[in-house]
């Protein structure tokens, strides 16, 4: 599964995109797997209320299921306009 990061999440993790082998059932499970990997993930995901996520380019909640998903994105609240 491709995992992509934007804005300060990308900067904290140090990567714009990576491929992750995972059996995580939900976005929240994937986050826990990543946090367990390295400190930079723990730093990026320390406060989930400050983050948003999208599965296959659709905004969703952290309890969204990942079955069949190709891409998960993590980013701070958007600031367009």
């Amino acid at each position: 599964m491709d995992v992509v990061y934007f804005a300060w999440v990308r900067e904290r993790i140090g990567l714009p995109r990576e491929t992750v082998e995972t059996e995580a059932a939900t976005v929240a499970d994937l986050v826990q797997e990543l946090i367990a990997r390295e400190e930079r993930y723990a730093a990026a995901f320390a406060d989930l209320s400050a983050l948003r996520c999208a599965v296959d380019q659709e905004l969703t909640d952290f309890d969204a299921r990942l079955s069949g998903a190709k891409e998960v994105a993590f980013f701070p609240p958007m600031t367009g306009g």
């Binding site: 992509v4 804005a7 980013f75 701070p76 609240p77 600031t79």
Partner: protein, 153 residues
């Protein structure tokens, strides 16, 4: 409906002229231009990041929602990314409708949703360093008023 996400600058007058051209059955066109604003900290430039795979579909959904809520003849959204200087035009919205109330309301709705639901992030680079612009609570409050409106009889 036209949605453009681009790095290049655009000419606002030319875009408005082209948008109005040929709209014989529309009585109203409302346009909004967003401009990079200098801050007290001395903004050098702004960096706009976006999520290319998601950006255009997300804006198209927001525009489709606007067309669903109001009687609109056409919608145009242009949003830039990359490096922008104070005074640069960052984005524009145009709405065309038979009547002005629909054109104004739809433009207002589009701006509220583009601020908080289109995948763009702004970083301000000043003489003190660089900082990501945080989303404001007021921006979410601005969205909830449209939910309230939809629920109203």
């Amino acid at each position: 409906m036209q949605v453009r996400v681009q790095e290049e600058a655009f000419l606002p007058g030319a875009e408005v002229d082209a948008f109005i051209d040929g709209k014989r059955d529309m009585g109203a066109v409302v346009t909004f231009h967003g401009i990079v604003r200098d801050t007290d900290a001395g903004l050098r430039h702004m960096e706009i990041e976006h999520y290319p795979a998601m950006t255009t579909p997300a804006i198209e959904r927001i525009a489709a929602e606007a067309r669903d809520r109001w009687s609109l003849g056409d919608v145009l959204v242009i949003h830039r990314f990359g490096r922008l200087a104070p005074g640069d035009i960052i984005m524009m919205v145009a709405t065309a409708a038979p009547h002005r109330a629909d054109a104004f309301a739809a433009a207002d709705f589009l701006m509220d949703y583009l601020k908080s639901r289109a995948p763009f992030w702004k970083k301000e680079v000043t003489s003190d360093g660089a900082e990501w612009v945080a989303a404001k609570d007021e921006d979410e409050d601005a969205l909830s008023r449209w939910d309230d409106m939809r629920r109203a009889p």
